[in-house]
Every structure is written in structure tokens, then in C-alpha cells.
């Protein structure tokens, strides 16, 4: 019975990849030679030694029910090679552990660490890892959070080493790296939790207090006096935690503002809450006069809600900073002498000094800035520069820490470490850019400060004047002035609209990380695209195949893909990606030799083949370059394929336009914006791209300095510049623009410095952002106008003593409610859907036409 259930479940799990011929563990198609595992008495085939080892580990530990419960196949991730496992031992060093391991008991024997797990695809993975870890000798507790993909492990330092725990996870086929939770995650989580809690207290208190307040409003004297008093006392008791605890951030903010000798929005907010509450308490104790517990609680709740929404939007942006820190590896392989070194030792990157020699294997990240002293390879600097093409490196070339070595082993001499590295410098620039506020935001701050200051002075004057006229009424009239003009509407007008817009945009894939971003984006006159990578996919893709002899197109592509199948080079990967997967099988390839920055050579069915630059391929057969080369545009990369008898085919590769790039440029121009393109790429390529998209102002071969000057020049002519970029090294340029927008697909680091991030990588999200921003500005203006009109009417009345505190409370609530409701319109406005809809209709139409062709 057991095995039948298991069988159906097993075959269901491997169903996606043609039942029977798929790897039992990972579901990939089986190669000719398979590796067997005995599972519950049945022999199962796996595709490689890695899967076999992982499956065997799972079975040996009695965890076979993983295969029954999993709903998603694991990511293909062979068990880590031996040297990777050795590397894990480094995590036992105290200086490396300091960052992320905490003592869980007083004696320092029980340790706790958070692990970031790679490769978790379904809930069965969670179970598998938890079970495996819990059975390790010395592990006290292991809990995996499925939602965040993180594990918290607690172990006895005397009985088991951290490396053994990491190795157990690696043996199951998952990646585990220690994660410094104390620094960012916990602090963020605590803040979020306390904010949520405050919001809950305020909201819950508000609802209850409303229940006591409404009878008083509608009964209007029909209630007995002591019943009314009871309700007031109940309201007081429930408002107390709202005012003392939930509203605490406002008091803290007001106190900070006062200490800095300026008056921000928090001062009148705090004063309004305290005054209204104090007056209500006074009235309750006296048993006479108006109470506004309901208004106070609602006011606190609405303001907290706005702050909570803002905070969670910012929290998402901070996660990107995590990834930046992880760019450089934790350990490096240091050589004792060079040249002629025999000994290599693994050391923490923190102990590297300038002048050290470090060996870097293919696939590893470069630990520090340095110069290549030996080896030929190419590196992927895309995370640092946004440049997607691999950069060839040979002896004498500079390397930047954080880049990834792609093909050959390299030896480098370390030049700069720690705070002196390029990466650290970029981070510093980003930090500095973040501390500088744009002029518009400063102006808004100043105006607000004067307004609030004036309001407080007015309240004081009213108090004094009325004390002279009629001391008995002075206090209530001052309270009425403070409450009626309490800048709720004013202080809610902007944040409520901004947070509503932030929420709307977030659902549409646009992350707003700065308060001023929407306001500035709405006013932007120039949209400058920094880098071609913002308009193109930023990766190589196969554009065309030109067969040169009788061989058919598919066959040439299959041969090329077969040769390149193991290549990590972007060109190789593009060719492999373009070939349908089934062509890989059936053609045997051997003796593949990699000639860096030239190409590959190998034998396919006994035939020597070369793929690479035309010159490299010509060297194999000695024929003249094909004429077809003349007709290929300069804007594409050409790769040739040939054998010993002659040319076989030319492949053209290039960087395709992002989807809807054309639509974006056209719509921006239709909105009356100027679109510019700045790029560090070759001028010809930039001009070509600009022409294709209809961008009039384009500049190629621009250095960051050029870009900065270009943006400054625009700004001096009064332009409001929105900059769209994707790399880290453009952070200064992004910061110079009034509003910066980063694409999440490029360097994730840029997220931290950009004012906005397009998370969906869809360019039309930018159009949505522009439309929402304009609408937001409109709503903000309406809100401010409303607040001004309301104050202009209510304030004189209150000053003259015509407004009772009750009317003031109702007026204040109604005014802030009107503002919030107006802002909430931003949450569901169909206006900005039009572009997306229209373009998806166009896209559909295109698809259909293509199919018909």
C-alpha cells in the first residue's frame, strides 16, 4: 500500500520531464549513462553523481518521504565539489563567526546563527532540512522559515562545528550561507513589529472609543448624566494607551525637532494630541464640557497608518543593501610567495593586505581590487558597472573587487583593500548622495516650518488676548483654535497622498524609496536614460544565423550550441539559449579547448570544429573571410563556425531592445517630455539605438564625469531631470538628477541610491509612475487647497470664539477625513491603466500576426 502511494507520487513528481526518462531527484532528462539509487526497494535513475549523492543522503537519513510530499522539483544543483566543502570549514574561524554567530547561553557554549538558504522550492524542502539538522549530534534546534527562506540554528559549540551543519545542508543539495541577522533584519523586524503594534492599538482604541462617542452625539441630552459620564470614563481609559503609547513616535519626533531648534510637523501634531487629550480629561474629571477622545484616537490612527505604509515601502529598499555586502566573498586563497608559490592557504578577506598574492578560480568572486599578474580570463563586472559583456583580462590589467572571474584561473596582486576599494567608494558616494536633500524638498520643509511656527504663535496670541477679554473662556477658545487648525489636514495632505500612490505603484511594480520622488517625477521635464542597458535587455541574444554552405540553419545552431554547451561566456550562453534543448542530445562532443577571447575548438562526431572570431576560425581552414561579413551591421557581434574544410555559418548576436522601450519613448514625448540617452558605450552603437527609438539627444562614449556635466548643464537651464539608470557607478549621476529611477534587473545595488526602482523590469511601469505621480501631485494640491480654505474659514471663527470645542473636533475630523478619502482615490484609479492595456493589446496583435506568418 505504502509503495503504491509512493509510486504514484514519485511518477507525478517526475511527470514534467517525460515520465520514466527523467532524473528521479531533479527531474531533468536522463543522459545515456545514469546513476542508480535504491529508494524503498525500487531502483531509481538519477542524472548525475550530484543528484545521486543528494538522493542517497536523503534516503540514508530516513527522509524518503520528502519525495512523496514535494510539490516542486528541486533546482538542479549538483552537490558541492570537495573544495567547496573544505571552504565551509573557514566558517569555524572565530574572526569570521564574529559577524553572524551569537552566544545563546551565558557560558558561550550554545551558539545561534541565521542561515540564508538557496534552492528551497516547496514546503517539503523545509521539512527535509529541518529533519536533517535536528538529527545532527549537538544541534539543539533548527527552524526553517518557508516564507523568508531562512533557517535559525542553535547548536552546542563543543559537540558540533558550524561547518558540519553547513555541510549537512550542502549534502542535501541546498546552498546555505550564514547571514548577519543582527545588523539589519532584526532591527527592521523589531521596528516593523512595534509600528504594527502601535497601529493596532490606535485602530482598536479608535473603534471602541467611537462606539462610546456615537451614542453621546445622537442622544443629545437624552442620556442620563451618570451614563454619559460612564461612557466618557470608558473612552478615557481606552484612549490612554493610544495617546501615551501608540502616539509615542510623534512625541519623540517633536522632541527631536525642538532639540534641533526647529518646528516641524511633529510639534503641532504632538501639541494637538496632548492638548485635546488633556482638555478632554479635564472635562471628564469636571464632568462638564466637550470631550474629543474619539477624534484624538482617530487622528493618531490615521497618522500612524500613513507612517506604517511609508515605512514598509522603505524597508523593501533596504534589503538591496544586504546584497551589496555579499558581493565580495568572505574568504580568499592567498599564496605565500609569487612567483613559484607552492603553498596556498584560505584566509578571511578581512586579513588581506596590499601586496598579497591571491589565486582566483573560475566562477569565484574577486575579493579586493588588484592587478592581474598571471593568467588569462574574462570577468563579469555587471554588478559593478552594469556592463553586461565579459571584460577580457590578462597580466597587467586592473581588477575590481566584487567582479566575478569567468573562465580561467587568475593570480592577482592585491592593491587596495577594505575601505579603499572601488566598491567601498561607490557605497560611500551612494551614502553621501542619500544625505543630500533636493532643493524642492528643502523648500517644502521651510514653508511648512514657517506655517507651523506661525500657527503656534497665533495660538499663544489668542490665549493671551482672550485671557484679557474673558479669562473663563480663554482656555477653551485656545483649545478650539489649536484643534480646529490642528494641522491634521495639512500634515495628512501630503503623506496620505504619497503613501496611497506608493501603495498603488508598488502593486504595479514600482518601488518608491524617497518621499520626494513622486513630487519631482511629476514635474520632470527631461528623461535621461543613463546607459543603453536601460533600454535594451542588457544581455546577449542570438539575432540571426547565416548558413554559409549547404548545412541547414538548425544543424549549424545545434553544432554551435553543442560546442558552447559548457561555456560560461555570454555569447556561448546566448547561443545555447537559442537552440532548442533536444538538439543537444545525439551529437557527441569531445576535446573542447577554450582559447580565451578567441573562441572554442572541439570535435563533434570526429569532425574538428571551431567557433569564435572569424580570424580564429579562418586559422583552422585557411580560407578567406566570407563576403557575408561585409553585409553585417557594425552594431552586432559576429561569431563564426567552421570546420577544417571551410566556413559553416555566421551567427549574429546583439543586445535586443527591452519590451515596450519604443512605446515608452513615444508616450514620454507625447506627454511633452524631452528624452535623452547618455551611454558609456561606443558612439556608433548609441547613435544607432537612439535613431531606432526616435531619441534626438544622444551621446555615446560618455564617462561618468561627462554625464554629470550634461545633467548639470540641463539643470542650469531650468530643466527638472529624471534619470533612469541601472548601475552602481552611475550613482553620482543618478544622485545629481532631481529624481533617479533604477531598473531592478541591472545592478541591485542601485536600488539603494535611486529614488524609485522599477522592480518588474517593465519599462511601461515608468509610464505608470509618471501618470500616478502627476495625479498624486494633483491630489496633493487639492488637499493643500482644501486645508488652506478650511483653515481660512475655521481659524477666524475659532479665534473670535464662535467655534465650540465640539464643533472644532468635528471640523477637524471631517477635514482630515476628506483629505484622506481624496488621497485614497489614488489607490484605485483606472486612469493610468490605459497605457498598459493598450500596449498589451498591441502586443497580442503582434503575436497573432507573427503566428499567421
Amino acid at each position: 500500500m505504502m509503495s503504491t502511494i509512493a509510486d504514484t507520487a514519485f511518477s507525478a513528481a517526475s511527470a514534467p520531464a517525460k515520465a520514466g526518462r527523467a532524473c528521479f531527484h531533479c527531474g531533468l532528462p536522463l543522459p545515456a549513462k545514469s546513476y542508480q539509487v535504491l529508494v524503498e526497494g525500487v531502483a531509481r535513475d538519477t542524472c548525475c553523481r550530484g543528484c545521486q549523492a543528494v538522493a542517497q543522503t536523503i534516503i540514508d537519513n530516513g527522509l524518503a518521504s520528502y519525495y512523496r510530499h514535494r510539490s516542486v522539483l528541486p533546482q538542479s544543483q549538483p552537490a558541492s565539489p570537495r573544495d567547496m566543502l573544505d571552504r565551509l570549514r573557514l566558517y569555524d574561524l572565530p574572526e569570521i563567526q564574529r559577524g553572524f554567530v551569537h552566544d545563546a547561553d551565558a557560558a558561550g557554549q550554545v551558539k545561534e546563527a541565521a542561515l540564508l538558504l538557496d534552492g528551497i522550492t516547496c514546503a517539503a524542502c523545509v521539512w527535509l532540512i529541518e529533519q536533517r539538522l535536528a538529527r545532527l549530534e549537538g544541534v539543539h534546534e533548527a527552524a526553517v522559515n518557508y516564507a523568508t527562506r531562512r533557517a535559525r540554528v542553535r547548536w552546542d559549540g563543543r559537540r558540533i562545528a558550524l561547518s558540519e551543519i553547513l555541510r549537512a545542508v550542502a549534502a542535501l543539495g541546498y546552498g546555505a550561507q550564514p547571514y548577519d541577522s543582527a545588523r539589519s533584519d532584526d532591527a527592521l523586524k523589531r521596528e516593523r513589529r512595534s509600528m504594527l503594534w502601535r497601529l493596532f492599538v490606535a485602530g482598536f482604541g479608535m473603534m471602541q472609543v467611537m462606539m462610546y462617542a456615537v451614542p453621546a452625539y445622537i442622544a443629545d441630552g437624552d442620556m442620563t448624566a451618570d451614563l454619559e459620564q460612564l461612557m466618557r470614563i470608558a473612552s478615557l481609559v481606552l484612549t490612554l494607551p493610544v495617546v501615551t503609547w501608540a502616539a509615542a513616535p510623534f512625541y519623540a519626533g517633536a522632541w527631536r525637532e525642538l532639540k534641533a531648534r526647529r518646528v516641524g510637523m511633529d510639534v503641532p501634531v504632538a501639541l494637538g494630541i496632548i492638548a485635546a487629550f488633556a482638555a478632554s480629561v479635564y472635562a471628564t474629571v469636571r464632568g462638564d464640557g466637550p470631550v474629543y477622545f474619539d477624534s484624538v484616537a482617530m487622528f493618531v490612527f490615521l497618522l500612524l497608518g500613513a507612517r506604517y505604509l511609508e515605512m514598509s515601502a522603505r524597508a523593501r529598499a533596504a534589503q538591496a543593501q544586504e546584497r551589496l555586502v555579499r558581493l565580495t566573498p568572505a574568504v580568499a586563497e592567498r599564496l605565500d610567495t609569487f612567483p613559484g608559490s607552492a603553498r596556498r592557504e584560505e584566509v578571511p578577506v578581512a586579513v588581506l593586505r596590499p601586496g598579497d598574492y591571491v589565486a582566483i578560480r573560475p566562477g569565484a568572486a574577486i575579493p579586493a581590487d588588484g592587478t592581474v599578474v598571471e593568467g588569462v580570463s574574462s570577468v563579469d563586472e555587471s554588478l559593478l558597472t552594469g556592463e553586461s559583456r565579459a571584460v577580457p583580462k590578462r597580466a597587467g590589467d586592473m581588477l575590481t573587487g566584487g567582479a566575478v572571474n569567468l573562465n580561467g584561473p587568475l593570480t592577482i596582486r592585491v592593491e587596495r583593500v577594505g575601505h579603499d576599494t572601488v566598491l567601498a567608494g561607490i557605497v560611500r558616494l551612494m551614502d553621501r548622495a542619500q544625505t543630500e536633500k533636493p532643493e524642492i524638498a528643502r523648500l517644502a520643509d521651510r514653508v511648512a516650518r514657517w506655517f507651523v511656527g506661525g500657527l503656534l504663535v497665533l495660538a499663544a496670541v489668542v490665549a493671551v488676548v482672550w485671557y484679557v477679554i474673558d479669562p473663563a473662556r480663554a482656555f477653551w477658545i485656545t483649545i478650539a483654535v489649536l484643534v480646529v487648525s490642528c494641522p491634521c489636514a495639512l500634515s495628512l495632505a501630503t503623506p496620505a497622498a504619497l503613501t496611497a500612490a506608493t501603495g498603488t505603484l508598488y502593486r504595479r511594480g514600482v518601488l518608491v524609496t524617497r518621499g520626494h520622488a513622486l513630487e519631482t517625477l511629476a514635474a520632470a521635464t527631461h528623461f535621461v536614460f543613463d546607459k543603453t542597458g536601460t533600454l535594451t535587455e542588457g544581455r546577449m541574444a542570438l539575432i540571426g544565423v547565416i548558413p554559409l554552405t549547404g548545412e541547414e540553419r538548425e544543424r549549424c545552431l545545434a553544432l554551435a550550441a553543442r560546442l558552447e554547451s559548457r561555456s560560461e561566456h555570454p555569447i556561448g550562453r546566448a547561443i545555447v539559449a537559442a537552440a532548442p534543448p533536444e538538439v543537444h542530445d545525439g551529437i557527441a562532443v569531445c576535446d573542447v579547448r577554450n582559447v580565451p577571447s578567441q573562441g572554442l575548438e572541439g570535435s563533434v562526431s570526429g569532425r574538428r570544429l571551431r567557433i569564435g572570431t572569424p580570424g580564429f576560425v579562418a586559422a583552422l581552414h585557411g580560407r578567406a573571410l566570407p563576403e557575408e561579413l561585409l553585409f553585417v551591421s557594425d552594431e552586432v557581434t559576429v561569431v563564426a563556425l567552421g570546420d577544417e574544410r571551410g566556413w559553416l555559418a555566421l551567427f549574429t548576436l546583439g543586445d535586443p531592445l527591452r519590451r515596450r522601450a519604443r512605446l515608452l519613448v513615444r508616450e514620454l514625448k507625447a506627454l511633452g517630455k524631452t528624452v535623452c540617452l547618455l551611454s558609456g558605450d561606443r558612439a556608433a552603437r548609441v547613435a544607432h539605438l537612439a535613431h531606432e527609438l526616435g531619441i534626438k539627444t544622444a551621446r555615446g562614449a560618455a564617462t561618468p564625469q561627462h554625464k554629470l556635466e550634461f545633467v548639470r548643464a540641463l539643470q542650469q537651464r531650468g530643466a527638472v531631470v529624471a534619470m533612469i539608470g541601472d548601475g552602481v557607478n552611475d550613482a553620482p549621476v543618478l544622485a545629481q538628477a532631481q529624481v533617479s529611477i533604477a531598473l531592478a534587473s541591472g545592478t541591485r545595488l542601485a536600488q539603494t541610491s535611486a529614488d524609485m526602482v522599477l522592480m518588474s523590469e517593465r519599462l511601461d511601469a515608468l509610464l505608470t509612475a509618471v501618470r500616478v505621480a502627476r495625479q498624486t501631485l494633483r491630489v496633493i494640491r487639492q488637499n493643500l487647497a482644501w486645508a488652506v480654505v478650511y483653515n481660512a474659514v475655521a481659524l477666524p471663527l475659532a479665534v473670535m470664539g464662535y467655534v465650540t470645542p465640539l464643533a472644532a473636533g468635528i471640523g477637524m475630523s471631517a477635514s482630515s477625513l476628506a483629505v484622506v478619502l481624496n488621497a485614497l482615490r489614488l489607490l484605485r484609479s483606472p486612469e493610468h491603466e490605459s497605457v498598459a492595456n493598450r500596449s498589451s493589446i498591441i502586443a497580442l496583435a503582434f503575436k497573432k500576426t507573427n503566428k499567421n506568418n
Partner: protein
């Protein structure tokens, strides 16, 4: 109407009780992982713990 003299204080007490329960739920991590526990119940162990 006399019942109100009992019900109103009672409702205040209830609010605080509910607040405390929510406080406990948030602070003991009940909302940390909303998906995992649902799957965890149905997975059992093949081998008895030794």
C-alpha cells in the same frame, strides 16, 4: 438601561484582553511564517527517533 453599567466596563475589559492576546500572538512569532506550518503537519517521519 441599567445593564449598560455592566456592559460598558465589561467591553473595556474585553478590549484589553483582546489586545493582550494579539500582543502575545505578534511577539511569539505566530505571524512569522504563515505557510510552513500548514505543510508541516502532514509530513511524518519514516524512522523512529532513537
Amino acid at each position: 438601561m441599567d445593564i449598560l453599567y455592566l456592559l460598558i466596563p465589561l467591553s473595556v475589559v474585553l478590549v484589553f484582553v483582546i489586545g493582550t492576546v494579539f500582543w502575545w500572538a505578534v511577539h511569539s512569532g505566530q505571524f512569522d511564517d504563515l505557510e510552513g506550518p500548514a505543510h508541516r503537519v502532514v509530513m511524518d517521519d519514516d524512522r523512529p527517533h532513537e
